[in-house]
Symmetry: C2
Subunit: 97 residues, 2 copies
Amino acid sequence: MASNAETRRTTNEILIGKKPLMTYVTATLVQLANEPTVVIKARGRSITRAVDVAQIIVKRMGNIGYKIGSVKIGSETIQSEDGKVRNVSTIEVQVSR
Amino acid sequence: MASNAETRRTTNEILIGKKPLMTYVTATLVQLANEPTVVIKARGRSITRAVDVAQIIVKRMGNIGYKIGSVKIGSETIQSEDGKVRNVSTIEVQVSR
């Protein structure tokens, strides 16, 4: 039961990386068919892409009625390869149907 | 009176461009000394930098008690030099003291 809940939470998130933008648009749309709310997450330079993905879904698929919920920004501390600690900005965009 | 109000609104915004990050951090801090709320705006690839600026202000100057208010994302239609119409994503981050 607990592991099931965890699986749900994981599939509810789309983490934006370096793949083509439409890959993430498609992945988000597939998730939105199953879940009422999907959270698009990104950090560092991918933040711009996360906003792009959310905008493409809301503007181009506007007739289906997807909408943007809360937008949260934050920062994470990561350890880079040379052992230094750096801060990286993060974003979480909630998209709902 | 009306023009005065307009001037206020304009100086209340920091538009993120291509200058060094700390330029915008300083500009935002100067505005926050005069205004209770400053809106950090960016579009396209500068979106990541807008989040960075907001995070630097909130985390590093945390003891002064600045905090992030609403974060809005959107998109604008712009005409590029070749006459084509493109969409560009935008962000507005409210920072308050």
